[in-house]
């Protein structure tokens, strides 16, 4: 069984450049690819990369807590997605239609070229912003990766119409914010609360994604 030292050696083997590329890819995958399995893998990968990044700021044991939380979050999302999306696929055409059946439409509001342009604009904004302004003298690597994750998460939220994808965007945002905040104030209290908030967010998103929809037609002037 690998020990904490093995984990430390594995983390140390990852260079800053590799981290940056990894996080770049993670955001790009969640923003561009509609498939929930691939996005979930990117989310899990993002948690590992962020834990590696944070291990340079805080003790490894504490940074690893974020990885564990990421594992729990990914499990929650996986179970929800399997339940909701899996059950829809298993229904045969002869089954009676269900009232809550969602409108068959894509995960995103916009098509792929638009999303690629949005991703490029986010990248451009991060490069421009990090070149001109640094929040409270945060280290450049943390500032850039934090901005990238937070802005990528927010744009994902704006582009998607799927609740689970929105949750992933939100978790990217909290990861980015966590990196920025911990680089200007390495408070373990805030770190712990951020980890807890990730779990609360995952719980709420899983609920929103799986709860039965309201009956339509009871909206206007309902009593």
């Amino acid at each position: 069984m690998p020990s904490l030292d093995d984990l430390a050696r594995a983390f140390a083997a990852v260079s800053s450049f590799q981290l940056l590329i990894g996080l770049l890819l993670a955001v790009a995958i969640v923003m561009l690819i509609a498939d929930w399995r691939v996005s979930l893998l990117a989310l899990a990968g993002q948690y590992i990369l962020v834990a590696i990044l944070l291990s340079t700021l805080i003790p490894l044991q504490i940074a690893a807590v974020r990885m564990i939380a990421g594992g729990l979050v990914a499990t929650m999302f996986y179970i929800t997605a399997r339940r909701v999306k899996g059950s829809r696929r298993q229904r045969s055409p002869s089954d009676p239609p269900v009232l809550e059946e969602p409108i068959r439409s894509g995960v995103f509001w916009m098509n792929m070229p638009f999303r690629i342009i949005a991703l490029a604009l986010v990248a451009l904004s991060v490069i421009a912003l990090s070149g001109q302004f640094v929040l409270l003298n945060a280290p450049t690597l943390f500032w850039v990766t934090g901005l990238w994750l937070a802005m990528g998460g927010l744009v994902t939220i704006a582009l998607t119409r799927d609740a689970l994808k929105l949750g992933m965007g939100l978790l990217f945002f909290t990861s980015g914010f966590g990196i920025i905040y911990l680089s200007i104030d390495s408070s373990l209290l805030v770190y712990g609360l951020l980890v807890v908030s990730d779990l609360v967010i995952a719980l709420a998103v899983s609920h929103i994604a799986s709860v039965p929809a309201q009956m339509e037609g009871r909206r206007r002037g309902e009593l």
């Binding site: 409270l136 807890v196 929809a213 909206r219 009593l223």
Partner: protein, 491 residues
């Protein structure tokens, strides 16, 4: 009662009510017991400080009053919800209070913000998305809570750094920018109020009342506790101007949106926005009287929302016409309370502010009067729609139960239960013979219509309490003034 014990009681209450929701009589009994138990516990809550991991928790006089009223109103809304066929959200009227209580007790802004946001996020679990798996008001509200929480933490960090670098005034400006942005999002101040409508579409009225009436003002509490720690936030920034502008905009936009609205949830949300405007204007005065009036406005806002939510919930749950007429009356009282026209304490505070507005800028005075008209127009439109939907009830003759074709012997337990019920009925009939026939008929009617009678009694009691609250303005003003002056962060 010690604070950990109070928190424990709150957890037990939330679990109990949440579990009891499956069976209506049990849900009703649990809601009544929870209301009485929590109000009693709050009245006996100790003022001593409780320490945990270096963070201290204590009740301030104002927070104690606030939580007392909040528990009472949440209880009333829980009882009203227990009459409904759908009681899924019953427990969520209490779940959030576990963390909101921490936000009110704690002396640490960071923990307070996390606790406040966690309570708001818990409320998201009570929301019902309009489309399966799709993002809507609930999902966007969750996003907003997280983004606003992050902004508040950044604002706090800037405020923390300023005493270390007092020559850098820009730190204060940045702190105020992030705090305004974060609180503006959470409080739905204009122009950040766009989330109110979609959120209201997916939230049951009792939860809207608790969320907006009691959950939102905790943010102002946290802001003022932060200002108490760093008074320079108020002295060196234009926070007062921001509060003034935010207040004026909230009144105007809230009034206009209410006038155009016919949906209960949205009407409640926009009316809450309108009253928030008055509270912000009162806070902007930066005087003890201004703080007192703001406190009274926020209490009145919560009571008005409770009245509206309880009446709408009862109206939806019980179709009897006479129950709905009572509910309409209570709704009107709630709308008048929100508009500031109900006689008493809210009228006094509003009048005070209106006089000041008229003296300083008559345009704002006329705009406020027009916005009040908007609330009234919205309330009248909703009531007219409600009355239109009250069609005459047609009595469906009850069919006799079909006789069993084959006699099957009932199980032993069922036979014993039937015997016990028969014995009880016989005893009841025997006792009833001793009372005059009109009294017997009345008791029989109440037994048949217990839900309707209970719901009307609840609404009338709530209305009477609000009238009592409103009719003793001096008492409440004095109480609010004393409480405000005792706040450690305002000294």
């Amino acid at each position: 009662m010690a604070l950990p014990l109070l928190l424990g009681l709150l957890v037990v209450t939330a679990v109990g009510v949440h579990v009891a929701r499956y069976w209506r009589p049990l849900a009703f009994v649990a809601s009544v017991a929870a209301t009485l138990g929590l109000v009693w516990a709050m009245q006996n809550a100790g003022a001593s400080t409780f320490e945990l991991f270096g963070v201290s928790f204590a009740f301030q006089p104002l927070s104690r009053d606030y939580v007392l009223v909040a528990f009472a109103c949440s209880g009333v809304l829980a009882i009203a919800t227990s009459f409904d066929a759908s009681r899924r959200t019953l427990g969520f009227l209490y779940w959030s209070w576990i963390v909101w209580l921490i936000a009110l007790l704690v002396d640490n802004f960071v923990v307070g913000v996390f606790a406040w946001a966690a309570g708001l996020a818990t409320m998201v679990l009570a929301m019902e998305p309009r489309r399966l798996q799709r993002v809507g008001g609930a999902a966007y509200y969750l996003v907003l809570i997280i983004v606003a929480g992050a902004l508040l933490l950044l604002g706090n960090r800037f405020a923390q750094l300023y005493p270390l670098m007092p020559d850098q005034i820009s730190l204060i400006d940045s702190a105020v920018l992030f705090l305004t942005w974060g609180l503006g999002l959470m409080l739905a101040a204009v122009p950040f109020s766009v989330w109110l409508g979609p959120m209201a579409d997916e939230t049951p009225p009792p939860n809207i009342a608790v969320l907006l009436g009691f959950g939102q003002p905790i943010g102002l509490w946290l802001l003022y506790s932060l200002i108490g720690q760093y008074p320079r936030l108020l002295e060196l920034s234009n926070l007062v101007t921001i509060l003034n502008l935010g207040g004026i905009a909230a009144i105007a936009v809230g009034g206009v949106l209410c006038a155009l609205e016919r949906r209960a949830g949205r009407f409640m949300s926009f009316a809450a926005l309108y009253v928030l405007g008055f509270a912000l204007l009162d806070l902007a005065r930066s005087t003890p009287e201004g703080m007192t009036n703001a406190v009274l406005e926020l209490f009145t806002r919560a009571l008005g929302l409770t009245l509206i939510a309880a009446s709408v919930t009862v109206g939806r749950a019980i179709p009897n016409r006479w129950v709905n007429y009572v509910a309409v009356g209570v709704f009107i009282l709630g709308a008048l309370t929100m508009a500031g026209i109900a006689p008493g304490v809210v009228l006094a505070t509003r009048w005070n502010l209106l006089l000041e507005l008229e003296a300083t800028d008559a345009r704002f005075f006329y705009m406020t009067v027009l916005a009040t008209m908007g609330i009234l127009i919205g309330a009248v439109r909703f009531v007219m729609l409600w009355l239109e939907q009250l069609e005459p009830q047609t009595r469906v003759p009850s069919e006799p139960p079909p006789a069993p074709s084959v006699k099957v012997p009932a199980p032993l337990l069922a036979r014993l239960r039937r015997r016990a019920v028969e014995q009880l009925n016989a005893l009841g009939n025997k006792l009833a013979q001793r009372f005059p026939p009109p009294l017997r008929r009345g008791a029989g009617w109440i037994a048949n219509e217990w839900r309707a009678v209970g719901a009307v009694a609840l609404l009338l009691l709530l209305a009477l309490f609000v009238l009592y609250y409103s009719a003793t303005p001096n008492f409440w003003s004095q109480r609010a003034l004393e409480s405000s002056q005792q706040l450690y962060f305002l000294r």
